[in-house]
Amino acid sequence: MTEWTLSRALNEALRHALRADGRVLVFGEDVGVSGGVFRVTDGLQAEFGDTRVFDTPISEAAIVGSAVGLAFAGWRPVIELQFDAFSYPAFEQIVDHVAKMRMRTRGRVDMPITIRIPSFGGIKGKEHHGESPETYYAHTAGLKVVVPSNPQDGYALLQHAIRDPDPVVVLEPKARYWTKGHVDLTADEREIGRGRVIRDGRDVTLVAYGSMVARITEAAAQLADAGIDARVVDLRSLSPLPDDLLRACAEQTGRIVVVHEAPRHAGFGAEIAARTMELAFDSLAAPIARVTGWDAPYPPASLEDGYLPSVDRIVAVTKETVAY
C-alpha cells in the first residue's frame, strides 16, 4: 500500500508498463523531457530513453494515425492527447481507423493502442480544457472507454488498458490528478468493464464516473444525515458498460440518479438510464434522474461552479427521486 496522487499513480502505471513490455511506446505533445502538462509522464524519458518515450509535433491526427501504423509494426502505443478538446483533430483517425482496423484485417492485426486524454472540467481552466468527450468515444463501436476516479483505479485501469489487445480510451479526470489515495500495487483483477460499489445503500443508487464520484460520495453522506441511505457506484467503464451492476442496483434500490459533467442531451447518462430501464423496468419506482452539465458550451472559469453538478443539486434531485 502506498499513498499516491492520481497523476503519480498513472505515472507509475506507465513506468511499470514500459518496464514490463519492451514494445510499449509513450508519445504525444510535451510528454518527453517536460514530463507532460500534468506530470503523468514525468521522468519516463530519462528512464527509458527517447526511443521509447518521445515528443511529437503538434499533429493530433498524425499522433493517432502513426499509432495505427506502429501497431501494424508490432508496437504497443500509449499516446497522450493533451486535453479533451484537442482529441477532436484526431477524431477521424480514432473513429474510422483505430476503432475499425482490427475488424478490417479480419483480426490479423490487433490495435493495442491506449489513448490517454486528460478530460473533464473543474479546474477553472481555459476554454477547450474542460470538455467531457466520453459520449463521442463510448458511442464509437470498436473502442473501450474507461474513466478512473482515484489513484488505485488509475494505476490498475491504465495498466489493463495498455495490456488490452484492443484500443482503449482512458479519460483522466484533470480535477483529480492531485488527489491522493492508497494504491495497492498487487491488486490486479480484470478491471475493464467492471464498476465498483463505493458505498452500499438501500434507498437509491447514485451513479457517476471521474470527478463526479467524489461529489456523489459527498452527496450520499449529506443524504444519510437526511435519513436517505444512498448507494454510491463508480461506473469506471463506459464501454463496455457494467450493466449487470446497473440491473442489480435498480432491483435493489429501485431508484437511480446518474451524474456527469457533460451536457445532458444525448449524454452518457441517457445510455445508463435507457439500458437500466431495459434491464429492470419493473424494479424502477421512479424515473431515472440525470444531474448533468447544462446543454450549453462549457462556461468560463467564473461560471464553472454553476455549470457542473454541485453536491446541492445532486442532493436535491436525489431527494425528489426518493420522494417520487
Binding site: 499533429s59 498524425a62 501504423g69 506502429l70 482490427r102 475488424m103 479480419r106 473501450k144
Partner: protein, 361 residues
Amino acid sequence: MAEPHPQPPAHWSGSEPRQVVAPDGSLVGALPDDLDTTALRELYRWMVVARRLDRECIALQRQGELTVYPGHEGQEAAQVGSAWALGRDDFVWPTFRELPVALIRGVDAVQYLQYHRGTWHGGPYDPRATHFGPICIPIATQVAHAAGYALGRQLDASDDVTIAYFGDGATSEGDFHEAANLAGVRRLPLVLFCQNNGWAISVPTASQTAGEIWRRAEGYGFPGVRVDGNDVLAVYEVTREAVARARAGDGPTLIEALTYRIGAHSTADDAGRYRADPDVEAARAFDPIPRFRTWLVGAGHADDAFVAACDEEAETFALTVREGVVATPGPPAEWAFDWVYAEPPATFERMRDEALATERR
C-alpha cells in the same frame, strides 16, 4: 500507336518531370542500370495485365458482380514502375486505386476485389503477409499510418522501407501534411508517392492547389522529385533512388508522378459532367503502355510474339479472376462480429448472440 499529342494534360505544365522514354517511345534519359530484358518485359507484362483486369472489373461492376469500382486506366506506369522498385519486406500503404501495385505485391486479385464486391472492408488479404496495407478510402489518412509504420521499422533498426500512395487531391488534407512533417522530423524511411492524375473526382489539380506538389517536400526538409508518371522506367528510377535513400537512413522523399485518370473517378461517376472528351483523347496520346511497347520492341527487348503473349496472358488472367470473383459467396452473418475485438466484452457477446438469433429468425 497514337502520335503523342502536342498538348500534354494541363496539370503537367510547370517544372520538367524526369523522363527516360518520351511519349513517342524514344529514349531521352539514362536507362536504369539494374533492369535486364527479363525485368523490362515484366514491367510491360504487368501493365498489360493490370489494364486488362481493370476493364474486366468495370464489366463485373456493370453486371452487378462488384459494387462501385475505381479504375486505374492510364496510371499503370506510375504504379508498376514504383511497385517494381520495392523490396519484398518493404510495406505499401495504398488508397483504393492501387490494384496494379497489389498484383505486383502478390495480393490475390480475387481477394483484393472482395472489397469492391462488398463482401469485406479493408480487403480480406493478409496485410502482414503481402506487405500491402488495407485499402483506404478516407483521403490521405493512410499516409499517417504509413509514417507510423515507418517509425516502427526505424525503431526496430530494420532497413525496411515504407511507401504511401496517394493522389493529388490527398495533398490538400491535413493528414497528408501532418504525416509528411512527422516523416521529415524523424527522417523516416518513407517514400511519399503521389499519383497526380489531374483529377479529384470532378476537381482538377489546378483547383486543388496553386503550387507544384513535389515542391511541398522542401518545406518538410526532404527532397521532392517530379517524374513523368506515364514513363514506367522514369518512375522506376526515381522510386529506386527514393527507396535507396530511405534504406540508407537518409529519410523521406516526395515523388510527384504526373499521370492521367483516363476513366471516370469510379463506375458511379459520370465524368462527362465535368470534363471534355477531347481532353481525355489528348491524354490517351500519352498512354504509358504503347509508349513503353514502342521502346521495348524498338530496343529489341521484345517482339510481337511477346506482345501477343502478354495480351493473351492478360485475357486468361482477367477471366480467371472473373470466375473467382463471381464464385465468392457473401460472408456469414457472424463475420459482422467476429473480429471487432480481440477480447470481446460480455455485453458485446450478448448483443452478437441477440443479432445472430434475429438473423436466424
